[in-house]
Amino acid sequence: MSGRKGMEVSIAVAEAVKLANADVIAAYPITPQTHIVEHLSELVADGELKAAFVPVESEHSALSAAMGAAAVGARAYTATASQGLALMHEIMFITSSIRLPLVMTVVNRALSAPINIWNDLSDIMAERDCGWIQLFAINGQEAVDLTLQAFKIAEDPRVLLPVAVNLDGFILSHVIEPVDMPEQEMVDRFLPVFKPTLRLDPDNPVTIGAFGSPDVFIEVKKQIEEALIGSQKVVAEVWKDFEKQFGRTYKPVESYKTKGAETLLVTMGSISETAMTAVDVMREKGQKVGLIHIRLWRPFPFKEFFQAIREAKVLAVVDRALSPGGPGGPVGLEIKSALFDKKEHPYVAEFVAGLGGRDLTVEVFSEMSAKAEKYAKSGKEMRYEMIGVREK
């Protein structure tokens, strides 16, 4: 399976889970995640992957079963999207709070209603505060690489937290892209067998997931918070190690043509590649526009973010989710609050765009960039603008 091949990204992710030698896969199908677990169930049925495939009755059970598997020391995996992720909501908090490392692919899709199977980030943004490490892939290669890295990050004894690898529904999950599938031997070297720190073991009984009174709750939360913040160091180490073995570089915040750029588009996920094309077009016209995209969303890489925007005068933040009735979308909120204490900072124009699969074309990115510059020039307070809304 190794070498550069054209593959549907969902299939490539499933193959990455196989390369990671997952022990237990518990999953429930939901569009647009289905191809991933469908392919994994085939790999298990065909004996190509020696794992237990647990076809559960709901996503709530999928994450619960994966969590239980992680609790006995198995390498556990699941995948979901949208309503399925929402159904996992309560278990999301438990998984991170009892420090069970597992990996979940979230194939991002809008939340109903209206019923909509297309892409935006409203599903994962509703899980922002669940205490998971959250990564965003911009293409098929990243989806594969981040999946392999996610197991190593999650299982590090200094981390022991679940990791969500996000990839955009359909516009990434269902496209065929050239993907370089790593050799099994190299993956084995990169990703050793999971050695759990805490494990359910009949010979050494422990209780996991017990009651915590007001006397202990805050201390437990503080410990988890420190582990999550501290995981950024491990993420950096894993990326360094990955680069050494596979030659591909990963950073928490990536920059594209930011040198000499006065306006920066700020994106997440696969729309970043379209936005890069928009930057190319604008640069050709002599406009000083660049782009940064956030790969590590939780823990938020504040230092790297400040470094990446230090020369910018205007930020055009593209949010693909909305915090209804609030100041805008989650990414804009994050950035504005991060900049609040800075004496000097760029003007932040925020756009909520692409909800429910509305196409974000090169032209739309150019439009947002131009609008951001216009808002900055006017100096007016701008909360956010919803892009592409029909008025008539």
Binding site: I208, G212, E219
Partner: protein
Amino acid sequence: MAKIEALHPWKEVPLGCAIPEAGNARQFKTGDWRSNFRPRTDYEKCIKCGFCWIYCPDMAYSLREDGYYDWNGNYCKGCGICARECPKEAIQMISEEQ
């Protein structure tokens, strides 16, 4: 509020708030929110059947060497299940004042 004997600083909380030591619930003394009643066993009537020990939902009874059962006020909530289940009516619920 019930008192716990050992309270950890955050760095020393067992990973994920797991309980590495079996049976440490005994450190969590919940008897201070007992109702106004407590059981009293009449050892003249007691036949050592152990029903009180079996039925107690809070494991407030323990077996003595002589085969009788001791009641422990650190855990009893005063629910009266032991008194109701005792086949010899050897257990009576008495008010705390008594």
